[in-house]
Symmetry: C2
């Protein structure tokens, strides 16, 4: 059986699915025609393509490759006059894009948001032309999630009308800053503004740290690369310390606040704090909207591999071995993830739409959506990153030993995606913030909005018209979420009644249960978007195939809440039927699995995997690559073996 | 608060705990005095110690470091006249020990087991003196877990009385073989014995593959390193292909079977197959007995870090920040793992004792314990590796962003331990084998042995004398395991009644549920050993501290089976009390946490972590190491920046 024959088994046209997914969900900013065109053009520029050689490289070579990618992208961007979204789309190919991502995704947008008109007029052109290259320096060695605790100081000196940038403690070293380690000439530095002895808390300053020509660090600036990481080693995450380093008066970005030359503080826009807060939310929304890409890569590799790899004699034909995707446990591992991937895809648009609407209102001075949007995006940031990382590892393990080889492409997907659970708000902290928001809804009489369902009456789960009915599943998910949020709410009320204060309650008593409750709310929300997404598919064949994935999602996630379902009155017979639906849906997905994942059209060069090839020729490829691309195999004898091993061994 | 002050909080003496743990559980083969002596002596030999420099090295340097370790170990071993267990203990410091581990743990023991007396007399001395260095070559590109499916051929040529080693297909390449890639001069090759047209299945042949002086591969042998992996990159896992390569008649190991010069097959010991099968089991038992080490490393790092790291204002003292171990969620993450680690420690002795007894009997021709031992060891191999890997990652994440730095030591613990879920029997396959064995017990009237409890009457869970009572917890664990195994058994019987054959049932219908059931059996077994282990501790202060860990273990794992507990009649009030016990036990463990993990006495050099230091000076250390040990920071300007970035950017 070849992959080509497998492709014929699908009940629908994967091309039509691709045409539906891309403009509606995956990359709504671009037409599919333009995506195909960009893919084709990029595939002809070697620097914009992964190579298996990468896995044999040193960190220095990784960094250089990232520079080469960035330089080639800039050239391509200019010759093709790429839009912002087109550039972002191409940047998505490559996770280690230090200079460019730092510049275009963090440095310029943050500057544009927080500088006043005069500052923008003066400096934005230099930033766009890359005369100035920069980074956004907020996190410190001692302070990550707790932004208000940052220690770097910007002390105003009225006499010279300069700011003195200073790092007073070891923990005040800026740390983890992308693009800072080796590259940036300028940094947007978050520092406490101190003037006339008053501490006005964190503000942003544009600080030159390296000579723009030689790139040598300037005096008074201690800057460098923080060292190797679990992944993303082409990035130069950096550290930065100031030793009473003086910068001019206009270094402070002045859109929301400023200092008079005399050192008096003026708040220019009281809305500023909320807008900055929203920026953080937008970074998190980015994780929600972009994570499908690596998830689809891992599933493409592992589903193709599972259709080529055979193991153990087949009970139907003992002289042949059985394809591993024909074992129930392999289907369970992979299709559970395929179903989640589609869930993430259907949810990403409504979640980012919600945030966009929130942002639009905010710029008009209306913050009515901010709290809800923050909770919604937090919930999705937490669980999309969590389940994607978990899924990447499940895909990797489903490929057995070969999934442990770097050449499989699977380890680096995991290594590079892993930090999404930690950065832009650690998952635990965001989940707790979401929990506390959701609890507050319990006090509202009739809460509206995306979490309104949490304060509605409990349904009766004992009657199920049809075990595959999506409405029944939705009712179950919502009931579980209500039960769990209400339980935490009740415990909070009990603790308050006993005289405990909220901060203590949320540090010491309700964190574990509070976080657990948010997961149930997430599933209820995601399943709602899943149904909504499916309802919009007009192609019946496609709709039916994806509806089976929804069944896998619903039955898998609901099964985790068996105890809650019992408490909510679901009879055991219904629960048993639900488990049967799960196993049955795995089998029904089998003929469509390849088409469902290949509709994501991940190219071979971005996959960069010896075991995930479209032609299924994995073994030939593995042997060739290990033999001829592996630097330790050069020469017949490993250099050093005689010196370090042979004389003694 | 310093770590020194934290150490004073413990309710017991960690030194006494160390003295109890090491000889009784951790390293029962050596006295604690000898361990301390070996640790001290090794700490003075640079090659036997990790260094932070390692994280900056290339793969070539990793391999060389492994050689240096091996060479230094051999020298030390000779001068100190180390026993086998002493050598093993020291090898445990270093996970990437290609030549030595391959030689002493795989090559020599396999040869000694399968060669006849004559062969041993001739060759064992050369192997012990390392004149011959070898590897054990079984796994192929196309066949891992399915040993019977291997394809490499050893075709007997009666005319020359030679074997012709041949790799007939691309999938028959030997692959993953440790120590083969660059080092071994000889390989024990598992190949199908083919004589007079008969295929006798896999047998073992000792084959020279490289020149012992020059280490050049011999003609007809295609050998090399398979390339970079997720971890363990100091190891030279290799590939090997034969092209009608001739070896002498005595290459075949002859203890269990042999060929006459005429090419007729003679089975010499019908017990042979079972003994070889037991060897596989012993490798798995090794994973169970050794995994505590890396788990303890990760917990030492993350508990120390959590006692130094502060984040967010403390509700009791808003001018200070709160130590992260004083948040409930951090305690939950770490102490759940600390409790598991102690469980693994208490279980490892009874499990390996069981296997040792099985092996003793087997050599006497008595295979009565083999099936049970295989199931027991499989169960523990699967879940000890699973929970250890999961725990290593939970520890890493609990250190936030800094846990993503290689210098934290945490990523490499994960990377290097990860393959334990795949090698020596993939976890899914072993769990399925265990499930099928456990199901067979349901047919026995009165099964004895370690799983005898599975076929006893269901208990009444509605009456709980004391919510902290370990006997009650044990009854609950066993009841859950029974419920789940019996449910799978019933489904199997139903499917058989419907006319399905067992192979199909176990490929297509019962894999998911069968595997889930084994986890419940594992917890019941582990909890039994936990109680047993605690009961033997005579020091009451230590016993009390570890009993609280057992409460964490029991309440955490039982909570996962809430639905089963409801079905078994546990009232909701008891379940709620159990959850309270869990949270309360986390808080009660807090003052003892550091002592409970430091009792494992992991040395600073084996920890090799900037954030897990005994003196708590993490930030100073991070800055110094990133600044001065990081090769990309050498010189003020990164070489290549002008060439690859500057002209364009």
């Amino acid at each position: 059986m070849s992959l080509e024959e497998e492709r014929k088994k699908a009940s629908f046209s994967p091309t039509e699915l691709t045409q539906y997914l891309y403009p509606n969900y995956l990359v709504p900013q671009l037409t599919l025609e333009r995506i195909i065109e960009l893919n084709l053009k990029c595939s002809k520029i070697p620097e914009l393509n992964y190579s298996l050689q990468k896995f044999h490289d040193t960190r220095q070579q990784d960094i250089i490759r990232a520079y080469q990618f960035g330089t080639a992208l800039k050239k391509f961007s200019e010759s093709e006059k790429l839009t912002r979204w087109e550039r972002r789309f191409i940047m998505g190919f490559y996770p280690e894009l230090t200079a460019h991502v730092a510049q275009y995704e963090f440095f310029i947008p943050s500057f544009a948001l927080q500088a006043n008109e005069e500052q923008k007029k003066l400096l934005l052109p230099k930033m766009e032309s890359l005369e100035i290259t920069g980074c956004y320096a907020q996190t410190e060695l001692g302070h990550g999630s707790n932004v208000r605790g940052i220690e770097t100081q910007a002390i105003y000196d009225e006499n010279t009308q300069q700011f003195i940038m200073h790092s007073p403690t070891i923990t005040s070293y800026k740390w983890w800053i992308g693009g800072l380690g080796l590259t940036a000439t300028h940094a947007l530095v978050a520092a406490r503004l101190i003037a006339k002895g008053n501490d006005y808390g964190p503000h942003i300053f544009l600080v030159q740290i390296r000579d723009t020509k030689t790139r040598k660090p300037l005096d008074g600036v201690d800057v460098g690369d923080i060292g190797p990481k679990f992944g993303l080693n082409g990035n130069d995450n950096g550290f930065l310390k100031f030793d009473y380093y003086r910068v001019p008066f206009d270094a402070m970005l002045n859109r929301f606040a400023r200092l008079t030359p005399e050192g008096d503080y003026e708040l220019l826009d009281p809305n500023g704090i909320k807008i900055l807060y929203a920026t953080l939310v937008s970074l998190r929304a980015g994780i929600v909207t972009d994570s499908w890409y690596r998830y689809a890569c891992a599933l493409t590799i592992s589903i193709r591999y599972s259709l080529v790899r055979e193991q153990f004699p087949d009970h139907e034909n003992p002289n042949r071995e059985r394809m591993i995707l024909d074992y129930q446990i392999q289907r369970h591992k992979l299709f559970k993830n395929l179903a989640r991937l589609y869930g993430h895809v259907f949810a990403k648009k409504p979640v980012s739409d919600h945030y966009d609407e929130c942002e639009r209102r905010l710029f008009k001075g209306d913050d009515s959506l901010l709290a809800e949007s923050h909770a919604l995006v937090s919930l999705y940031k937490v669980y999309v990153s969590h389940f994607t990382v978990q899924g990447l590892e499940e895909c990797r393990r489903s490929c057995g030993g070969h999934g442990y080889m770097m050449l499989s492409g699977l380890p680096s997907l995991y290594m590079n995606h892993l930090p999404t659970v930690t950065y832009d708000g650690d998952n635990n902290i965001l989940a707790l913030q979401a929990a506390r928001y959701l609890i507050t809804l319990m006090k509202k009489q009739n809460p509206q909005g995306v979490f309104g369902f949490l304060n509605t009456p409990m349904p009766d789960l004992s009657v199920c018209p049809d075990i595959k009915d999506s409405t029944y599943h939705q009712i179950c998910f919502e009931a579980i979420a209500k039960l769990k949020i209400q339980s935490v709410f009740k415990k909070e009320q009990d603790l308050i009644a006993k005289g405990f204060k909220k901060p203590r309650i949320w540090n010491e008593f309700l964190q574990v249960e509070g976080i657990e409750a948010t997961e149930a709310v997430y599933h209820a929300s995601l399943h709602f978007y899943y149904i909504e997404g499916i309802s919009k598919i007009s192609n019946l064949l496609i709709r039916n195939a994806i509806e089976i994935l929804r069944l896998i999602y619903a039955s898998t996630e609901l099964a985790k809440y068996h105890a809650e379902l019992i408490r909510l009155g679901m009879p055991n017979s219904i629960f048993e039927q639900l488990k049967e639906v799960q196993l049955d849906s795995l089998d029904r997905t089998r003929p469509n699995a390849l088409a469902l994942i290949e509709a994501f059209e991940i190219s071979e060069t971005t996959l960069n995997s010896v075991i995930g090839r479209k032609d299924g020729k994995i073994y030939q490829n593995m042997v060739w690559t290990s033999k001829y691309m592996n630097p330790v195999n050069k020469g017949k004898v490993f250099p050093g073996i005689h010196r370090y091993l042979r004389p003694k061994l």
